[in-house]
Amino acid sequence: MSSGQEGASSPAAGLAAAVREGRASAVEVLERHLGAIAERDPEIHAFNLVMVDEARRRAETVDGAVARGEDPGRLAGVPVALKDNLCTRGVPTSCSSKILASWRPPYDATVVERITAAGAVVVGKTNLDEFAMGSSTENSAFGPTRNPHDPARVPGGSSGGSAAAVAAGFAPLALGSDTGGSIRQPAALCGVVGVKPTYGLVSRYGLVAFASSLDQIGPFAHTVRDAALLFEVIAGHDPMDSTSLDGPAPSVLDAIPMGVEGMRVGLVSELLAGVEPAAAAAVEAAAEALTGMGAKVETTSVPATVYGLSAYYLIAPAEASSNLARYDGVRYGLRVEGEDVAAMFGATRQAGFGAEVKRRIMLGTYALSAGYYDAYYGQAQRVRTLIIRDFEEAYRSFDALLAPTTPGPAFPLGAKTQDPLSMYMSDVCTIPSNLAGHPAMSIPWGSSDGLPLGVQVMAPALGEAVMFRVAAALEGEAPPAPVPAGGRR
């Protein structure tokens, strides 16, 4: 599967091919990207940490392997940015939280091991909403990331730093995590490709947990092919993650050229309702393009998705309240001393967590507490079943589904910070796939006032090959996209 064709028209695959064939050096490639970071990241703040020395050593190792006639792998010399909730051994992994500000994990996440084994060069750790809780990257303890298309606007979130890093040309590839849309929503707002794989396909070992039945790691890239390449490198069974699926991961690069002729694609009416006119128009234009390429596109209904947002904001906080109980000042991270152990817990968590994390912990604790468990958490879990059933029904008639990724383009910084519910609404189109555990991806399509928009392609569990085929076909027909300063390199 490591054909030389991977480099055809995609920046990351092109760089890897050039490095493997000795036409470019990994050190040279890295320095070009470090230059871009030095030039514009002071304004954008995509990175919490740029790993200059580690990346240089790593690039030299890759070049050394090529010089010895060895093949460094499918991502040879490709700079990759990592969301700062992915563990890197000995390198700070803060989750953009004060409580982990100086934490250095004793191990690497499985995805970090896999991309490194494939020859990638990790350039740094990207900013996020604290513990991945948010939709704008404004909930970072270290200040917001700005959208490379318009620095007065948010990049989306929670993986806003990773999306901005790719959009601004700081790295051709990045990894993020998606619990309710945290890869797809910032990808749409920054004009890049973002993929949430099927739950269980990518190991979560070394991903700092937020909501364990929903979290999934996935790629950011400029093109569908590059996203497919990174997906193939990170997907596959891992014995270190008990939720990791057995069996081989779908191969997607081979599927991309197959096109969409005869494919049945459904336009989800519930997810089109209530989005801004430009976002709806983008999806309708994408649907027409698919029809033009021989797909059969029809409007369809997935009724229970209208309850997705409500169910998600009970389930995800409930799981978060349990996962974040571990930050107690005992084993790692921040401690604020108190006169007894209970006072120490309270003071540590008060000082260490930001407002949104506290809100979610309290909301989740409430939804799980005696007297409210059945009405809120239990009920949300039953609604989750309804959403899965309605998707299953839709996939009896359709191979893939199409929807907007977001209700509209990037919003100004500060526009939604005072009203958590309005911020939560940013995820309304992406949440259903997380609740169902299905794959979904956003690709750039169209614009609104010069700002990028995305369309979302969804598929049933393990339907990545179909999803990537539809996305690649759409990419080939997409209208000209806005390009930020810096752009691709």
Binding site: R104, P106, Y107, T198, Y199, S213, L214, S242, T243, S244, L245, Y307, L309, S310, A311, Y313, L314, A325, D328, V330, R331, G333, R335, E337, G338, E339, D340, V341, A342, A343, M344, F345, R349, Q350, A355, K358, R359, I361, M362, L363, T365, Y366, S369, A375, Y376, G378, Q379, A380, Q381, R382, V383, R384, T385, I388, D419, P420, L421, A436, G437, A461
Partner: protein, 100 residues
């Protein structure tokens, strides 16, 4: 089901979650959490009789590895991460009721 969360509820939940919160935070969080719970009223009001809950999206079962010894993280490496450690153990302040 749509009753707003009271200040006393917020204080109680904060205590359960071992979060120290100020009076101002309690007032702010009561209003904000109330709005989210109000939105969730649609879910709380649904008739889901006979619908089983989903805790996990895919039908995977508990996974156990073979019961074989293998190395884990080095004890000192782990203790080095702790805010305070002593005699190969995590050091914590006194537990309530204990002599100091």
């Amino acid at each position: 089901m749509a009753e707003r969360i009271s200040a006393a509820d917020v204080a109680h939940v904060a205590h359960l979650a071992r979060l120290k919160v100020s009076e101002e935070e309690i007032a702010l969080f009561a209003a904000q959490l109330g709005a989210v719970l109000e939105h969730a009223a649609d879910v709380a009001a649904l008739d889901t009789a006979g619908v089983p809950p989903t805790a996990h999206p895919l039908p995977v079962r508990n996974v156990l590895r073979a019961d074989e010894e293998r190395p884990s993280l080095d004890r000192q490496t782990v203790l080095d991460q702790a805010p305070r450690a002593e005699d190969d153990r995590f050091r914590v302040p006194r537990i309530l009721g204990e002599a100091p």
